[in-house]
Symmetry: C2
Subunit: 404 residues, 2 copies
Amino acid sequence: MQRLQDLAAIGATPEGGVCRLALTDADRDARAQLMAWMREAGLTVQVDAIGNLFGTRAGTASADGADAAPVMTGSHIDSVATGGRYDGSYGVIAGLEVLRWMDAHGIRTRRPITLAAFTNEEGVRWQPDMMGSLVHAGDLPLQQALDARDRDGLRLGDELRRIGADGALPVGTIRPSAYVELHIEQGPRLEAEGVTIGAVQDLQGIAWREVTIEGQSNHAGTTPLDLRRDAGLAAARLTVWLHALAERTGGGMVATVGQLALHPGLVNVVPGRATLTVDLRHTDAAVLDSALAELDAWLQALAAGHGLRIGCRALADSPPVRFDARLVELIEDRARARGLSVCRMTSGAGHDAQMIARIAPAAMIFVPSAAGLSHNPREHTAPADLAHGARVLADVLRTLADEG
Amino acid sequence: MQRLQDLAAIGATPEGGVCRLALTDADRDARAQLMAWMREAGLTVQVDAIGNLFGTRAGTASADGADAAPVMTGSHIDSVATGGRYDGSYGVIAGLEVLRWMDAHGIRTRRPITLAAFTNEEGVRWQPDMMGSLVHAGDLPLQQALDARDRDGLRLGDELRRIGADGALPVGTIRPSAYVELHIEQGPRLEAEGVTIGAVQDLQGIAWREVTIEGQSNHAGTTPLDLRRDAGLAAARLTVWLHALAERTGGGMVATVGQLALHPGLVNVVPGRATLTVDLRHTDAAVLDSALAELDAWLQALAAGHGLRIGCRALADSPPVRFDARLVELIEDRARARGLSVCRMTSGAGHDAQMIARIAPAAMIFVPSAAGLSHNPREHTAPADLAHGARVLADVLRTLADEG
């Protein structure tokens, strides 16, 4: 708890939250603090070329043995602009405490255990998000990541060098035997159901679309309803329809219109143009694809029926991820062995684990988020729940690290 | 046509439109041009303390007789930022041509005829709109108008003095015996029905509301549909409902949501707050009031049903205006006498005539707007229609100015 507090002080906001955007001075200071703690805990610290931080506790197996790949845990320490204290940081600090606890109790493991803090998970300044883990998994070329530019035109690689986070380790060097990430849920389900531990078995697929509706800007007083081509009204119909689509589809589908701009945006002018975003998520790729096809057909009918021109552009497509079944069972088992309530669940948010899942068996452990709030200064998890999560992580890591 | 072209050159935009916001340098130049033309036409030019411009052609009756109040015509020469060439300017230039035509044909009238160009009709920089005519009618104190500030904090009175438009004439001095305003329709009806002249019998009442919806900002991936308090979805439901209300009410009711802002406005965050404007219009005050009451009740139900806090603030309330029945008949009669098609109609837009109607019998003459476009660089009326409107205005003014 003290370390979480100390880390939250770096980039603290007046509202009690954290603003620690990737590769800012605050991120630099947080990295320095984390590396100091890692070294104090006797870990071997390595930084790779995209700034991913690794701290490794040695195992008892021969270091060059083919079956001595480390078990990895971790998360990220960057935040969004209106972030809380636990998103990302919790998984990193809890991992550190697990390794310190093993030392304190003289516990040795066959495999090494590596604690990772991945660069730019939030993707606020540079897209895509989960960038460090994506590069680590080999699915985003290092050079492309380094060349990404933020809104001010700043190159990621230059900022990385500026804060001294450009390490010597080639990206993707540390290939784990398994990866387990501990994280706050960032949703309301565990709290609502009174369950302490979530064994995360999959991640929703995410489709982002930008819909542009062009009608005709007209005088709000002199244009009869039947002669209007109201882009704002069409955007409203789309928003209502999309919600109904998600409800009708079920199976945890969620749909959100988070951004909407009307032009010219005057009280007495019928909007001639509306631009809005659609965020659509489901765990089943086929269901998601079918919903997107329905959206396209519905937009075409809307355009034809109301004299509008409608464009729909993909902003992002992230397929659903299924975590490793044996790891999910192991998490459930270890939670029950501690007498904790546990349920299988789906993550609605993206996490580094989904990238590492491409190169190793992976799964996640969730603990409750008060009121489901995250990316919010009021983000909170009860200290007892934070401790429960860390204990389950310890038990899972110990089991995995002793496997042959 | 030449004068309309010359006036449109002052504040001309690359798109072929006009940007001549009230009391800018462009407005100053247009005023100077208009006053020069007035003087060339032998009119007595006066400017009042709010910058309203008057050019009077003398009548034959004794100047101090109680029944020798002038007949007034006119409009405004300020524009919106994306204005066209005819809104306002047409009524002023046509009035000038009518007086020049009377001179050319040696026509004398018993009453004087005053051509007016009212200050700040558009209300872009300073609210309320139709400000000059409202001050002239005595319903907005001069000092309050002068103290109005624009977005940059500039005081109207200071800008008025800066461009030398602060005249010596006390406001409200010229009290007309009747007021007739010639204007483009700014709507599609005349063109759609193939009618040349609109005899405007009334103006819709206008209610502007700002609705603020507060829900809960949440993660778009992790928050199940049934646990959301989505302010953006509520705003969309309101927009769709409002359109249905206007359709159901009928009688020319129009409803528009022209402005809408979502917070925080991110693709993957459920909007926690939505602010939108409602523009609701109808010619019958009782129908308008009843629709507003329905809106309030519906908003309360929406708030209660979805866990939202909803506020509704009046931005403007302008009651319906009924023009003088005899003047409307006179316009119809003179149009028919010229062999022109004519219909009675309602104005959906606000005009200086509605303010002057408070102190004198008033009515308006409309000519067709191509595609109903106005406040748009593509605003257009066929030259033949412009001429038809001016001829009807001439005949109406002549009749009114010869009355006892």
